[in-house]
């Protein structure tokens, strides 16, 4: 993970390595699973990534995560009400999946711990690159999670909400989901909790041919929690994925999005909102692989930075040599509202095919004075006017999701955030 072996391990590194020694016998899975866990711990022993590792340039995990809370078996997290009414809720509380799953036609649920015990999940634990620190941390410690399989042709009427709730301590969770051929689903990934916690959570989504999915990540960790998350997706032929994320909490957050188009006609749409406040650090890092010809993607990220918050967006679009006719567009817009805040962005294009249309745009600015003047000239006081403009700036992205119920729910979340941080 880190090419330069640090002289001395930090408290966080030592306690993670020690914790592995203590918990090793309690973790489900042996054989292939254990081999992968051992390799992952070896990577941890080389130290957490520093800014010398290019993909961690703006998030020096070694200094940002100097210490980690221990595993706390007494922590009692409770399931929360779903963000979208009538959703089918499946909860993972303090890193352990519920044992009783709801019955839903065409959908099967399973505890991930079972798949780890029988070893069938082992190949899915592989890291995606040498600097996959979140993958390594999670692989070493993952104990449970929920496995969801949506059968071919099933069109779900109601969303499924996968909740990961953590009340202090540490947890490492995986949420693998398969959406079968031609199936349709809306999935909400909810990341929340209370107290001082370290969570790592990896979602793995496979979309089979012609499948359509909308995946919403709603992250509202407390300002005392460190949250390291990964969303990985493989989009099959003619399949469509819309991913939306809302980051509205957490002390240290890194959300990685790793997506690959696997079949012609695959389409990926990413919309994201980062609402940053307080003395926090939030990093969204995306790696998108256009691996086959004729695939499309658009990404729009909107950030609002207040207080002493630091925000990062890194987005890399790789267009492989045979991925002709790729159409990829990425935009990252930031409203930097505080002189103590920071935002860094690195939108990368890596292109090996010639017959493509690729572009990216990035802006960082404050509120447009012309717009502000326009509103204030109409008798709206400055605070309200600013609020309106900021909200409009992020709401624009949410509205693109089209589904009325989803849009309303997410706008509700925006209002909640503005009420406490406005």
């Amino acid at each position: 993970m880190n090419a330069h072996v640090p002289q001395q391990l930090t408290q966080a590194e030592t306690s993670l390595i020690d914790a592995f020694g203590e918990r090793q016998s309690l973790l489900p899975g042996d054989g292939e699973v254990m081999v992968r866990r051992d390799n992952a711990v070896e990577a941890l022993k080389a130290g957490l990534p520093t800014k010398r590792i290019e993909s961690w340039h703006y998030t020096n995990l070694r200094t940002l995560l100097p210490a980690v809370p221990g595993f706390d078996p007494s922590a009692a997290a409770k399931a929360v009400t779903p963000v979208i009414e009538d959703s089918t809720v499946v909860s993972v509380l303090n890193g352990a999946s519920t044992a009783k799953f709801p019955t839903l036609e065409g959908v099967s649920f399973a505890r991930l711990s079972d798949k780890l015990t029988d070893g069938s999940f082992a190949p899915a634990l592989d890291l995606y690159g040498a600097d996959d620190a979140i993958g390594a941390l999670n692989t070493a410690f993952v104990a449970d999670g929920v496995f969801v399989d949506i059968a071919d042709g099933v069109e779900l009427k109601k969303p499924i909400e996968l909740q990961n709730v953590q009340a202090g301590g540490q947890s490492h969770v995986r949420l693998p989901v398969r959406v079968g051929k031609g199936a349709k689903a809306v999935i909400v990934e909810r990341q929340t909790g209370e107290g001082t916690a370290l969570t790592s959570s990896i979602s793995q989504l496979t979309l089979d041919e012609g499948a359509e999915a909308t995946w919403l990540i709603v992250q509202e960790q407390p300002e005392t929690a460190s949250h390291l998350a990964q969303f990985k997706a493989w989009i099959g032929k003619d399949a469509k994925l819309t991913l939306f994320f809302l980051n509205a909490g957490g002390k240290l957050v890194r959300q990685e999005v790793v997506v690959a188009t696997k079949g012609e006609g695959a389409d990926f749409k990413l919309r994201g909102v980062n609402l940053l406040a307080g003395d926090t650090h939030t990093d969204v890092t995306m790696v998108l692989d256009h691996a086959v010809p004729h695939t499309t993607s658009t990404e729009v990220i909107r950030n609002v930075v207040t207080g002493k918050a630091r925000g990062v967006f890194q987005g890399r679009i790789n267009v492989h040599q045979y991925a002709q006719k790729t159409d990829a567009k990425m935009a990252c817009n930031t409203l930097l509202l505080s002189d103590d805040g920071e935002f860094s962005t690195k939108p990368e294009l890596e292109i090996f095919a010639d017959d493509v249309q690729c572009g990216h745009g990035a802006t960082v600015t404050e509120i447009d004075h012309g717009h502000l003047f326009y509103l204030m000239a109409r008798g709206i006081d400055e605070k309200t006017a600013r609020g309106l403009l900021v909200k409009a700036f992020v709401a624009e992205v949410i509205e693109e999701l089209e589904d009325e119920q989803i849009v309303e729910t997410l706008e509700g979340k925006l209002d909640e955030w503005f009420a406490t941080h406005g």
Binding site: L337, D339, S344, I351, D354, G359, G361
Partner: protein, 509 residues
């Protein structure tokens, strides 16, 4: 049979390694033994008659260099360089500081003549067309085309490790401008060199800059005093001629309060199978209200069609807008080198200072380019603009890597970045890696980048008017890079346009 002949000619022309400046010249040289050590540095320093403080400066840099590791973050791939297998000093023999052009080795003059660089002041002064003396390997037309037809340009010619001649020195001196080789400046103007050398690119800056600080052999020195507008364009031509040598030149340009100077730099090298190292450092200092325009046409030997040979170009260029309302512009046309690793940057320290970066990077064959800029906004109300056009053909990799940052106190920092890439063929790659870092709310950054190939519609439109495919592409490409070409001084613009044509030859089909 003219049609057939024409086809044959065309086919012959379509060869990736149609490098015009690949000739080699036999000139007796005085070389340091291969390898790098404190002794070699003492040797270089002695050869240059340097004062002790300069030697100490070099040695300190060398000791620091020994502790550094070669950077690996750039998207370039090359076998490890053996730093002990290079001659760090090579100078044309019987050169004890020529007093006039007549004393310069005629072989050397021929080299520059072939390159089309005007070293003879009087000809230019009189505005006389260069005599059409046929030169080996170049047609009359080529030779005369390369001679600047208008305007006067003062030239400093650097051959391997030493500056051989500087023209128009006296006339410049009348205006108060100092234009000489850096070795001469170290001897004649030590107070200026001491004050500014290493003040923009410190000896410890990076691996290659540190190496350069230890072993640099020559380069240009420009000092434009307060309130002076330099009366003519200044220019340096770099030529690597010897085998197994590295060229490490150091350029220092200082524009005092309210001064203005425009400086051009050109580089070529012979065709060789081996890779040669070129690691230069350029430092610009602009005080209050000063303006420096720095233009480069980089045309080092890029290697042959199989990617064999070529120059490894690892360059550190940085401008310091030290004074209020100062302005620095970098304009570069990069067509040569097997590897380019180059990020001309601006430190916008003074309030209301401005930095510009205009770049065209053309890569063909197996060339690898990793180039871009850094705009560091420190002062209030600073502005920067980046226009970068990358064109990749053949099997080349072309990367734009740039950083724009605004610090806490850089209120109202403003940046606009536009980087476009054009891909010709499906075996090459174009990459964009911009870093944007805003640390205060009044900063306004905009960045846009696109990558595409030449649109079939555009090509069809041009070809339909009877223009052959290759010319059609050249025409479209020239349109694509127009924003940057416009920023070049006129004499250079013509040359740059031609270069782009040559570099892309053979990329069709």
């Amino acid at each position: 049979m003219p049609a057939v002949q024409e086809t044959i000619d065309r086919v012959r022309k379509i060869d990736v390694d149609q490098y015009k400046y690949g000739f080699e010249t036999t000139i007796e040289t005085d070389k340091a033994p291969k390898g790098l050590s404190e002794d070699i540095i003492r040797f270089i320093s002695e050869k240059k008659n340097e004062p002790d403080w300069m030697l100490e400066w070099r040695l300190e840099a060398y000791r620091r260099w020994l502790t550094l590791e070669e950077p690996t973050w750039a998207r370039v791939d090359y076998p490890k360089i053996d730093f002990q297998d290079i001659h760090y000093y090579a100078a044309p023999k019987n050169q004890s500081g020529p007093k006039s052009l007549d004393e310069v080795d005629p072989e050397l003059l021929k080299v520059y003549e072939k390159l089309g660089i005007p070293l003879k002041e009087q000809e230019i002064l009189a505005g006389v067309q260069k005599e059409k003396a046929p030169v080996d390997g170049l047609s009359d037309e080529d030779a005369s085309d390369n001679v600047y037809k208008s305007g006067r340009v003062a030239v400093d010619a650097v051959f391997d490790s030493v500056s051989v001649v500087t023209t128009f020195k006296e006339e410049l001196a009348k205006a108060g401008v100092i234009f000489c080789s850096i070795s001469e400046a170290i001897r004649e103007h030590p107070e200026l060199v001491k004050k500014y050398l290493g003040s923009v690119v410190p000896t410890s800056d990076n691996f290659y800059a540190t190496l350069n600080s230890a072993v640099f052999t020559d380069g240009s020195f420009v000092f434009v005093p307060k309130g002076v507008r330099c009366p003519m364009e200044l220019s340096t031509y770099f030529r690597i001629n010897e085998k197994n040598t590295g060229q490490f030149e150091r350029t220092l340009i200082i524009a005092e309060e309210g001064a203005y100077v425009s400086y051009l730099e050109g580089c070529t090298a012979p065709q060789r199978d081996e890779n040669q190292l070129h690691a230069a450092v350029v430092e610009l200092v602009a005080l209050d209200d000063a303006e420096i325009k720095y233009s480069t046409v980089q045309n080092w030997y890029p290697g042959d069609a199989q990617g064999k040979g070529g120059i490894y170009n690892f360059v550190t260029k940085r401008g310091d807008c030290r004074g209020h309302r100062s302005k620095i512009s970098w304009t570069q046309v990069e067509t040569g080198s097997a590897i380019t690793w180059k990020y001309p940057s601006c430190i916008l320290r003074g309030d209301e200072s401005q930095g510009n970066f205009y770049s065209i990077a053309v890569s063909n064959g197996y060339q690898q380019v990793d180039s871009g800029t850094k705009m560091i906004h420190l002062g209030k109300n600073t502005k920067s603009r980046i226009i970068s056009k990358g064109i990749a053909a053949g099997f080349s990799q072309n990367t734009y890597r740039g950083q724009v940052s605004a610090h806490r106190k850089a209120t109202n920092a403003r940046n606009f970045t536009n980087c476009d890439s054009l891909l010709i063929g499906d075996q090459c790659g174009a990459h964009t890696v911009p870093y944007m870092e805003a640390k205060n709310a009044t900063a306004k950054f905009e960045h846009e980048a696109t990558t595409s190939k030449i649109s079939e519609d555009q090509k069809f439109y041009v070809m339909q008017r009877g223009i052959p495919e290759e010319e059609a592409i050249a025409l479209i490409v020239n349109g694509f890079v127009k924003d940057v070409i416009q920023e070049l001084p006129m004499e250079f613009a013509v040359e740059a346009q031609k270069l782009i044509g040559i570099s892309l030859e053979g990329s069709v089909g």
